[in-house]
């Protein structure tokens, strides 16, 4: 299945882009995608504890299974205002 990954701030800098399309196996979870990205982008590992993941606009637990067409947003600590 195909998902869209959005990345912001520090995480975006590590991934090198704010948006990418990933092909992942059926039944993949948010945690699976994170691990896959950590395999490709080593510095991402250091951001694991501070990064939240949102699926289609809602914060999810790592074990939540994804569906084709989902948007997964990687959200480091915010700094608005």
């Amino acid at each position: 299945m195909r998902i869209r990954v959005l990345a912001f701030a520090r995480v975006r800098e590590v991934l090198g882009s704010g948006e990418q399309i990933l092909d992942v196996g059926d039944g993949s979870t948010a945690a699976d995608v994170w691990q896959m990205l950590c395999g490709r982008f080593e510095p991402l590992k250091s951001l694991a504890s501070s990064t939240r993941i949102a699926r289609n606009g809602r914060i999810v637990s790592n074990g939540e299974p994804l569906r084709d067409g989902d948007e997964l947003a990687l959200l480091p600590p915010s700094g608005g205002g």
Binding site: G18, P76, P77, G80
Partner: protein
């Protein structure tokens, strides 16, 4: 009344939007880019980015919470993204209510909640070329942080 914008923010226009005949008070807050960082470095400018749809949903939730806590009020929240210079308005909140106490409380609640929860990110750019992402949760208190 909730927006993420790339152009300059008109705080007075936001205040006019939230006001209605039943409101005797409108409180506005403008968070403005200043020239010194919290650790006393000279700031040339800031860059903001946002997850826009999530940020707008958060603004709506915050406004609903303020009305629940402080009684009927109308809140507007606008945050700018992109590159901002010293003196630019980064965020504006306007709260209108029947009386001033409600309006003050609602406005303060909204900006504090925005800083704590909204998926918006800020990078400070310092004279000399260094840049740093700012984490609001690391600031000592909601009121003393920038903006």
């Amino acid at each position: 009344m909730f927006a993420i914008v790339r152009d300059p923010i008109d705080t007075a226009a936001l205040a006019a939007q939230v006001w209605s005949d039943s409101c005797g008070a409108v409180v506005t807050f403008a968070g403005i880019v200043r020239e010194r960082s919290d650790d006393d470095r000279t700031v040339d400018g800031l860059s903001y980015e946002a997850h826009e749809s999530m940020a707008l949903a958060e603004f709506e939730r915050i406004a609903a919470e303020a009305a629940q806590r402080f009684g009927p009020c109308r809140i507007g929240i606008v945050h700018r993204v992109g590159d901002l210079a010293v003196g630019d308005v980064a965020v504006a909140v306007a709260a209108a209510a029947a009386h001033r106490a409600q309006a003050f409380d609602a406005c303060e609640y909204a900006i504090d909640a925005l800083k704590a929860r909204a998926p918006i990110w800020k990078q400070e750019h310092y004279t000399g070329g260094a840049s740093e992402w700012i984490d609001n949760a690391c600031r000592s208190s909601a009121r003393s942080g920038a903006g």
